[in-house]
C-alpha cells in the first residue's frame, strides 16, 4: 500500500466527514435545543440536493447555476423547515420520544412521494463548476479539487457555528436552552422563537449539505434514508446536542468509511455501523458531554 493511496483516501474520508458534519451539526442542534428526534432531517438534505439540481438546471448547469444553487437551495430548505416547525412540530414538544419520532417520520413518507411527484423517479446529476473540476497533486497523491472545496467549506461552517454559539446573544440563548430550558423560561426569554430559529438553522445546514453533495453523486429518491441513519449515529456518538462532538464523530465516520472502502471494499458498508456500535458500547454517553 503506497503512502499516496493512504493519504488520498484519508483526504477523501475527511471531506466526506465534512458533509457528515454539516448535516449532523443541524441535527444535533435540533436535538439539543428542541429535544426532538428529527427523522425528517434526511429529507431536508435530500430536498437541498433536488432544489440545487433544479436551480442549476435552470441556468443550463453553468457555473452561475452552481453558486446560485449553493446560495438559494439551503435558504429554500430553511423556509420549508420553518413551515414544518410552526405548522407541526410545535404541537408535540411535550409528547414522548416515540410520538415525536413518528411525526417526523410521517414527513419522511410524505416528502418521499412528493419528491417523486415533483421531480420524477429518474436519476439526476449536476455538474461541478469548471473552477472546482480536476485535481491537484500533493506528495504524489491526486486530490480532487471539489473535495478540497468541501474541506474548506466544512471548517468555515464549523467556525461560523462556533462564532454564533459562543459570541452572539442568540447563540448564548440557544446553549442556555439546551442546558436548562426551565431556567431560560423563568428568565423570561421567548423560547418558542428560539425553537423556530434553531429548527430553521438546522434545516439550512441540512439543505447546505444536500446542495454540496449534489454535484458529486446521483441525486435520487432514497438518498435521505442512508444519511439520516449516519447522522443519527454521529449525533449520538458525539453526545446529543454537542456540535463539537458531532464534528469529531463525523470525521471518525468519514475516515472510517474511506479506509473501509480501501481495505475491505466488499463489506465497507458495515464499517460505520461497527464504529457506531463499538463507540456506543464503550462510551454510551457520547464522546463529548451531552447537552441533555
Amino acid at each position: 500500500m503506497h503512502f499516496a493511496t493512504l493519504a488520498s483516501q484519508l483526504f477523501i474520508g475527511l471531506s466526506r466527514g465534512m458533509i457528515f458534519f454539516i448535516v449532523s451539526a443541524g441535527l444535533t442542534l435540533i436535538f439539543g435545543v428542541l429535544r426532538i428526534t428529527n427523522f425528517a432531517h434526511g429529507v431536508l438534505y435530500m430536498l437541498g440536493a433536488f432544489i440545487a439540481f433544479s436551480i442549476s438546471t435552470l441556468f443550463g448547469q453553468g457555473p452561475y447555476g452552481f453558486w446560485l444553487a449553493l446560495l438559494v437551495a439551503p435558504i429554500a430548505v430553511m423556509l420549508i423547515s420553518l413551515v414544518i416547525e410552526r405548522g407541526l412540530l410545535r404541537f408535540i414538544y411535550n409528547r414522548d420520544h416515540l410520538l415525536q419520532m413518528l411525526l417526523t417520520y410521517s414527513l419522511v413518507l410524505i416528502a418521499g412521494d412528493l419528491v417523486k411527484i415533483i421531480w420524477g423517479t429518474e436519476f439526476k446529476s449536476m455538474d461541478i463548476p469548471g473552477v472546482l473540476r480536476g485535481s491537484f497533486d500533493l506528495w504524489g497523491a491526486s486530490l480532487p479539487l471539489y473535495n478540497v472545496f468541501l474541506l474548506i467549506v466544512g471548517p468555515v461552517v464549523a467556525l461560523g457555528l462556533w462564532l454564533f454559539l459562543s459570541k452572539t446573544h442568540l447563540g448564548k440563548i440557544c446553549r442556555a436552552t439546551a442546558t436548562d430550558r426551565e431556567m431560560v423560561d423563568i428568565l423570561g426569554i421567548n423560547s418558542t422563537r428560539v425553537f423556530a430559529m434553531v429548527f430553521a438553522l438546522g434545516g439550512w445546514l441540512a439543505g447546505l449539505g444536500g446542495a454540496l453533495i449534489a454535484p458529486t453523486t446521483t441525486i435520487s429518491m432514497g438518498m435521505d434514508a442512508n444519511i439520516i441513519i449516519y447522522a443519527f449515529l454521529i449525533v449520538v456518538i458525539g453526545g446529543l446536542g454537542n456540535v463539537w462532538g458531532a464534528l469529531i464523530s463525523s470525521i471518525i465516520m468519514g475516515i472510517g468509511e474511506a479506509f473501509g472502502i480501501l481495505f475491505i471494499p466488499g463489506i465497507a458498508i458495515i464499517i460505520p455501523y461497527i464504529i457506531a456500535g463499538v463507540l456506543l458500547i464503550v462510551k454510551p454517553s457520547g464522546l463529548l458531554k451531552s447537552a441533555w
Binding site: T37, L102, L109, G112, V236, I267, I270, Y273, G277, P284
Partner: protein, 315 residues
C-alpha cells in the same frame, strides 16, 4: 366479572369459527392477504412486549423478523436438513441475535437505547446485504422449498392462523405473569424497581429476547406466505412500519398492535389498487394519528369505555 369472561370467551369462539370458515367464503387473494395480516400481527404484538410493556424505545425490531425468515430460507436452500429443523432453528437464531443486541442495549436508557438498537440492527442488515455466499446478497433468496402440505394458500392460511393464536395466548399469559407485571413496574418506575431488588436490566433483556423469539416465528410465517426473502426485510424503514402499526392500534392495549397491523396491511392493499402513492397516504395517516389520536384506536376505545363505566358508577 364471570359474565364478562363468558362474554369475551363467546366472542373469541365465534371469531375463531368465522376465521376458520373464511377460506371457503373468500377468494384466494383475500385468504393470502389474511395470512399476511396474521404474520404481521404477530410481529407487531411481539414488538409491543418491549415497546408498550417494557417502555423501551426499540427502533429496529424488523431485524429479528428478517433473521427468522432468512434462517428458514437458508436452511431450506443451502442445507439438506429437514423443514422441521428450519422451523425450530429460526426463532432460536432470532432469539440469539436478540440476546446479543439486547445485552448491549439494556445498559443504555431512552433515546440512547433506541439509537443502539438502530446501529446494531443496521449492522445485521449490512451483513445480510453483503454476505453473498450465505444470503445471496441484495438478490435475496427466492422459491424457498416448503413441504407438500404447506403449498396451498388455504393450508398456509390455517397454519399462520393457528400459530398466531397460540403465540398471542402465550404472549398474553407472559404479560399477565409475575414477570410481565414486574416488567411494567420497571417501565413505570425503573429507579424504584431497582431499589426494591428487581434486576431491571435482566427483565428488559428477557423481554427483548422473548420479543425477538416471536418475531423469529413471524419470520417463519413470512417465508410460508411469500416463499422468498430479501434484505429489505431488515432495513430500518421496515421497522418503522411496525412501530406505526403499534401506535395505530394502541400501545396500551394487548390487541392494539395486531389491530394496527391488520388495518395497515389491508389499507396498503386497497390504496395500492388506486394509486402508487401509498407512502404519501400512510404519511398523512400517521400525521393525523400522532396529532389527534396518540393513544391509538384501541387505546382510545378503552379510555372511553372506562370513562363511561366510571360515569355510570360501576367500578
Amino acid at each position: 366479572m364471570s359474565t364478562n369472561n363468558l362474554k369475551s370467551m363467546g366472542l373469541a369462539v365465534v371469531g375463531t369459527l368465522i376465521l376458520l370458515m373464511i377460506p371457503s367464503i373468500l377468494t384466494q387473494y383475500y385468504v393470502y392477504l389474511l395470512a399476511t395480516i396474521f404474520t404481521t400481527a404477530l410481529l407487531a404484538t411481539s414488538l409491543n412486549l418491549v415497546l408498550g410493556y417494557g417502555g423501551l424505545l426499540h427502533l429496529h425490531h424488523g431485524v429479528f423478523f428478517g433473521v427468522g425468515a432468512y434462517t428458514v430460507a437458508i436452511v431450506m436452500t443451502k442445507t439438506t436438513w429437514p423443514f422441521a429443523v428450519a422451523v425450530l432453528l429460526a426463532p432460536l437464531v432470532a432469539a440469539l441475535i436478540a440476546f446479543v443486541i439486547g445485552w448491549f442495549c439494556v445498559r443504555l436508557r431512552g433515546l440512547y437505547f433506541g439509537m443502539l438498537t438502530l446501529a446494531l440492527g443496521q449492522l445485521v442488515w449490512a451483513i445480510v446485504y453483503r454476505w453473498n455466499a450465505l444470503t445471496d446478497g441484495d438478490n435475496g433468496i427466492h422459491a424457498v422449498p416448503v413441504p407438500e402440505f404447506l403449498t396451498s394458500v388455504n393450508s398456509v392460511y390455517y397454519t399462520t392462523l393457528m400459530v398466531l393464536i397460540v403465540s398471542l395466548v402465550i404472549l398474553y399469559l407472559i404479560t399477565k405473569s409475575p414477570f410481565g407485571l414486574t416488567l411494567l413496574a420497571t417501565r413505570d418506575n425503573p429507579v424504584r424497581s431497582e431499589s426494591v431488588g428487581i434486576n431491571v436490566k435482566r427483565h428488559r433483556l428477557t423481554a427483548f429476547v422473548i420479543a425477538g423469539f416471536f418475531a423469529g416465528i413471524a419470520g417463519v410465517l413470512f417465508v410460508l406466505v411469500e416463499r422468498s426473502v430479501a434484505p429489505s426485510l431488515l432495513f430500518w424503514n421496515k421497522s418503522a412500519e411496525i412501530l406505526i402499526m403499534c401506535l395505530m392500534g394502541g400501545l396500551t392495549a394487548f390487541m392494539g398492535p395486531a389491530l394496527g397491523a391488520a388495518i395497515l396491511v389491508f389499507l396498503s392493499m386497497i390504496v395500492g389498487l388506486y394509486t402508487e402513492y401509498w407512502l404519501l397516504v400512510l404519511g398523512l395517516l400517521l400525521l393525523i394519528l400522532v396529532l389527534f389520536l396518540p393513544q391509538g384506536i384501541l387505546g382510545y376505545l378503552m379510555d372511553n369505555f372506562r370513562k363511561n363505566r366510571s360515569m355510570r358508577g360501576e367500578n
